[in-house]
Amino acid sequence: MKELIKKLTEPYGPSGREEQIRAIIRAEVESFADEIRVDTMGNLIALKKGTGQGKKMMLAAHMDEIGLIISHVDENGFLRAQGIGGVDPMTMSGGRVQFADGTVGVLAPEKRPEFRKEPDLAKLYIDVGATSREEAAARLGQAVGFLRPFTDMGQRVVAKAMDDRIGCVVLVETMRRLKISPHDLYFVFTVQEEVGLRGAQTGAFGVEPDIGIAVDVTIAADTPEAPKMAMKLGQGPCVKVKDGRMLAHPGLKDLLINTAEANEIPYQLEVLAWGSTDAAAMQLSRGGVPAGCVSIPCRYIHSPSEMVDIGDVENAVKLLLALLANPIEI
């Protein structure tokens, strides 16, 4: 599992530029899928057919990560950028980024004392080692993601893009271990979640599921001076009750809870004050879809060092396997 997490978190893939990570995930799941395709927006859709009489289910995890897009190349070859998704300038000074072609850049602030007082993306630039505008001109419009190595701390692991490559890991592992299910399962690795749940919106329209479940990260509020929420690392995957844009379908939520309890899988309830997931987009597709979310508690979300508990990830897979093995009525 840890090798898979490393394999999926390190590659490049900011929103709108998911080709590389999609190819890696495709290679992981191709042999488990009865059908596999890429839709118009770039979502990777892998179908595992059910034995029959089941539901049509869409399980979504997003491949894209937050990043930056180069908006200006100055006369000395330094690059300026705008954000892709919810980037936090405070996490950037001194950091490194990677381009699609593997080029590395350093994020640096103008005037450090000012940046310390007020971190501002407009006061950051990227240094790729170019010495002139001509040398770096082609970078205009290119996107970058954070560059950090996966780190194994034992029970905990740290990487950039756990949001939501860890969700992708859970789906890959579920596909790998799933023996038999009555349901037609569409494992959808979505694009452009971080810029507005866009891949999930069009993906759900195309798949037309009876039920939608997203697998994403949620805030682990067990760090110093954390906002008062219930989710903690190591207490099990979270069954989402509500977040910033969605009230989970109560029947689906209860089913997830009952499945966890019946199979003695630790779980937590998640009420998230803000933020949202692909589930919110699935819920409003066409005439509406019962939707829910299994969330992996994660510290330091939208920083280059996101931390999850391996036990929570394992238990999320177990929860999904238990759910999908049986008929579903909600």
Binding site: S15, G16, D39, T40, M41, I69, I70, S71, H72, V73, D74, E75, R80, Q82, G83, I84, L140, G141, A143, Q192, V195, R198, Q201, T202, G203, F205, G206
Partner: protein, 344 residues
């Protein structure tokens, strides 16, 4: 010139009839079908010459402009109003406007400089402190001329500023009458693909017309045409303007509303280079276009936006270059002629 007539036409979001009429008249004999839908989108269809099944290409430009709506009639005959779309309140005082179905001229109030204290002059009047004066001296007189819910548009006449060089022109509503004029110019061509020119309503109030038009048309590809931000004025620091006048059509890679389909960006760049058409990239990150609504239609539509750089959009007067306009038409024609072969 159609662009001149379009720029002068009255058309705040929700009241685009005059613009639609102009376009319908211009296109009637050049297209196979013309329809207006429930939201006021005017959709012109040109059947392709290629074999079936033909690719469906949607070219979108929005007919509406930012404007004002009358919300109250004061006892002194002045008209209170609100903004329709992203109107910059700083640019309203003392402006000339055209009001209502009778197209009455009016002026947005401003206290004379003699009567304002220096501190007052530092502040920007909020919209609810302003009013439109149509010369009525009482509420009764005003009520005979206008009613609540009437629209007002900026009163600006189109003019050519320079016949040579950049061939600059000034007028209102280049966002997006520029796009409309480009789209209308495409009706002259003969294409292998089925072409849907969607002159969409209510973009400025939330990309609303385009959302509905795309749902009905179900295009395979979409191009959104705009008049876009051009802030190429001298700056202290070495920063990129969003676009620059005279550098050609601006291709969007990403903005607040969408990530452009990379294949369509490549198609446009290849066609520009093959045909010697100057082009630029719109600086990623700012603004939104109808492509934002179109690309999310149903199961998704590969989309891109192409814009004519226009200084001072969303103000009473914009400035653009007819060279950029001509090059945008040329690029779009080349792109449409290259389809469907050049796709994928």
């Amino acid at each position: 010139m159609l662009l001149e007539n379009l720029s002068n036409a009255f058309g705040p979001s929700g009241s685009e009839d005059e613009v639609r009429r102009l376009l319908a008249r211009a296109l009637r004999d050049k297209v196979d079908d013309l329809q207006t839908d429930a939201l006021g989108n005017l959709i012109a269809f040109k059947k392709g010459t290629g074999p079936e099944p033909r690719m469906k290409v949607m070219v979108d430009a929005h007919t509406d402009e930012v404007g004002l709506m009358i919300t109250r009639i004061d006892k002194d005959g002045l008209l209170g109003f609100r903004a329709i779309g992203g109107v910059d309140a700083r640019l309203l005082m003392a402006r000339g406007v055209i009001v209502g179905e009778k197209r009455l001229p009016g002026v947005i109030t401003a206290p004379p400089i003699h009567l304002t204290k220096p501190e007052q002059r530092q502040q920007i009047a909020k919209i609810d402190q302003l009013a439109i004066d149509i010369g009525a001296s009482s509420a009764d007189e005003a009520k005979g001329l206008v009613k609540m819910g009437d629209y007002a548009a900026f009163d600006t006449r189109f003019e050519v500023l320079n016949e040579e060089g950049l061939r600059t022109v000034k007028g209102k509503a280049f966002d997006d009458r520029m796009g409309c004029a480009v789209a209308a110019a495409l009706a002259d061509g003969k294409y292998a693909v089925d072409l849907y020119l969607s002159f969409s309503a209510q973009e400025e109030t939330g990309l609303r017309g385009a959302r509905v038009a795309a749902y009905r048309i179900e295009p395979d590809l979409a191009f959104a045409l705009e008049g876009t931000i051009c802030d190429d004025m001298p700056k202290d620091k070495d920063v990129s303007p969003t676009t620059e006048l005279g550098k050609g059509p601006a291709i969007s890679i990403m903005d607040r509303s969408f990530v452009a389909d990379q294949r369509l960006v490549r198609l446009l760049v290849n066609q520009a280079e093959a045909n010697g058409i100057p082009y630029q990239f719109k600086q990623p990150g700012t603004g939104g276009t109808d492509a934002g609504a179109i690309h999310l239609s149903k199961a998704g539509v590969p989309s891109v936006a192409v814009s004519v750089p226009s200084r001072y959009i969303h103000s009473p007067v914009s400035v653009a270059s007819l060279n950029d306009f001509d090059n945008t038409v040329a690029l779009m024609k080349a792109a449409l002629l290259a389809l469907p072969g050049a796709w994928n």
